[in-house]
């Protein structure tokens, strides 16, 4: 049997349909760790993102989950070209934007916007809301003053804020309202893609529900495409069409939403799913979490071969710590980076530890 390379397997498993708005190939971002004050010497690097490939189709939501530090934000910032990637390719709307100059990026910037976790930190506290939202329009020189004001008030209304609050400052709004301002600002320029980095993580559940509903409505009304990052598996399942699971700077699993939650293949995904508390005293107490040993290792010195191997209940010595698994195709575009994917779901603890068949690359 010929073992294909990671790239080949990926290529086969992800037939292009032609309507991808965003294609990310083998994206890498390594942060240098330096020593010395005058002559900085690079002594190591934090491999925050280390070979991530995925695509997002027009009009869909790709959810991205993973524990803190696995590289979600870094990936997002590279895609937005807010950070320079160390390697790889970013193709947006059919155009390779990886190396575009600032000037060449400018018209593209209005097509991809970002929403952040902390709406307060991302809004200028000394500027009025009207100005904050209008800023995006002005940067891109869209329309006259009167048109701008009308457009801003329209946007405030679209996101569920009172258009008369045009002249207020960010601190006069609650957390949920500020997140709405962030959404209005992102929408101002009619973007095609919005990258949402933990947009509801800091909000209470009732306000979180308001924002999630709003994002869904806007997607329907304006045909938006989302990359939606969160660490809450419930939220990601609710909002996404497809879901990508990251671990230590890499993709460990990618599948459509229903498949990922119903038939996870990667042991890490299984562990994550089994750890989510269920708001039901009967079902919740029957839940048997797969308890992982220890903490997530440092991306400074990631473990050899499969990065999950030191914590994996299915770890096979001499294989998982020697040979890095490719993203094996599991059918229907489902990919899992594991030599011993889960046979079915849920599994008993015994079954979890005792892998059956090995994955096949082709």
């Amino acid at each position: 049997m010929a073992v294909s390379t990671d790239a080949q397997a990926t290529e086969q498993a992800r037939p292009r349909t032609g309507n991808e708005l965003l294609i990310v190939e083998d994206l890498k971002k390594h942060f240098p760790v330096t020593r010395g004050i005058i002559f900085q010497k690079e002594i190591a690097s934090v491999k925050a993102v280390d070979g991530v490939s995925f695509s997002v189709r027009e009009g869909e939501t790709l959810g991205v989950v993973g524990e803190s530090g696995c590289g979600k934000s870094t990936m997002a910032r590279c895609v937005m070209r807010l950070l320079e990637p160390t390697g790889g390719q970013i193709i947006f709307d059919g155009r390779d934007i990886t190396k575009l100059s600032r000037a060449a990026m400018r018209p593209i910037r209005r097509e991809m916007m970002m929403i952040f976790q902390d709406p307060y930190a991302s809004l200028n506290p000394r500027k009025r809301v009207g100005f904050i939202v209008a800023e995006a329009l002005e940067v891109h020189k869209m329309g006259t003053d009167a048109e701008t004001k009308r457009r801003v008030q329209e946007l405030l209304e679209v996101v569920g804020l009172n258009p008369e609050h045009y002249n207020r400052f960010p601190h006069e709004f609650s957390g949920g309202q500020r997140q709405r301002i962030g959404v209005a600002r992102a929408l101002a320029v009619n973007p095609k893609l919005i990258v949402c980095d933990e947009p509801v993580s800091a909000l209470d559940v009732s306000v979180q529900a308001q924002i999630l509903n709003l994002l869904k409505d806007l997607q329907r009304d304006f045909g938006l495409t989302y990359v939606f990052i969160a660490h809450d598996l419930n939220v990601v399942r609710h909002i996404s069409d497809r879901v990508m699971v990251m671990y230590l700077g890499q993709v460990s699993e990618l599948a459509d939403r229903v498949t990922l939650y119903r038939e996870p293949k990667h042991p890490y995904t299984g562990a994550l799913l089994s750890a989510v508390p269920i708001p039901d005293p009967v079902k919740g107490r029957e839940r048997k979490p797969v308890v992982l040993e220890g903490d997530v290792p440092s991306p400074l010195n990631p473990p050899s071969a499969c990065r999950f191997h030191p914590r994996c209940p299915r770890f096979r010595e001499g294989h998982c710590d020697v040979e890095e698994p490719p993203l094996y195709p599991m059918g229907d575009g489902h990919l899992a980076k594991c030599h011993y994917p889960l046979e079915h779901w849920p599994l008993t603890e015994e079954e979890f530890r005792q892998p059956g068949r090995q994955a096949v690359a082709t």
Partner: protein, 342 residues
Amino acid sequence: MALLDVRDLKTYFKTDDGIVKAVDGVTFSIEKGRTLGIVGESGSGKSVTCLTIMGLNAKRNTITTGEALFKEQDLLGMGMRRLRQIRGNDIAMIFQDPMTSLNPVHKIGNQLTEAVLLHQDVTKKQARARALELLKAVGIPRAERRVDDYPHQFSGGMRQRVMIAMALINDPDLLIADEPTTALDVTTQAQILNLMNKLQEEFGSAIIIITHDLGVVAETADDVLVMYAAEVVEQGPVNQIFSRPHMPYTWGLLGSLPRLDAETERLVQITGQPPSLLRPPSGCRFHPRCPYVMDVCKQTDPPLKPVTGDIDHYAACHLDEETKDREATKLLAGMVAEARTG
């Protein structure tokens, strides 16, 4: 007699803007070996309730009334010295941020040893042995080697474990955990909740767990207190709260939750935001956000009334019981039906 009996607790803060009624008449009790979950959105008074019981509010601009009887002694009227003896010995507290209870400049082992020596008549050697035992019990790998590390040398999850070790080192009768896992990733959260559960079985402590995560409450608590705007709006045994919730705010909390065991196209959302505690709304404090609001709700604050047919289940709402049962059934049926198709 309950281990802790809190009666009509009120905590008011005097501020430049006026009086913030952070806790406004909270009553509950907890028995040995039981777990009480306190849920509610941020700002509803969960933390202040517990800080008040522990005597940890700044004295100067705080007005506290009511009673907090711990083993029949009122913690609120107690002298500082006696209170300090109880804190860290009979009652221990863990916080969301472990660094609030760990001293960054002292070695972990020394801090734990100090805590033992402060409350128990043992030798230094015995105290250190106890420290090591607890670090092992909370699952610190290679505890013998890590005992002389400083807090910053531990990861977030490990620090949380150390804080739990610190809280449990004197076998407290009551452990108060304020959002103990909110800052942690789910796999670490699973480890910590597992640990608290095991330790409770072993030591028989009572636990008060504050959280905004209804999943955590459903899985850990025996009894639940739902707080809204400084008041208790519903309380009862966990099964009853989740199978027959009787207050529109509780429905909102349950409905607004995306969950793995149910398929929901659109989440139920509670409109608006929690009110200011400087000038809380008249009548029922939830009325401006309540889809079932009636005239009476705007005028009269509903008292906590027993829910007919249930034991120890109370709800504060003017709606008639028939309507409440019907609406609760509808909400839950929707979630169950979705779980089947999902």
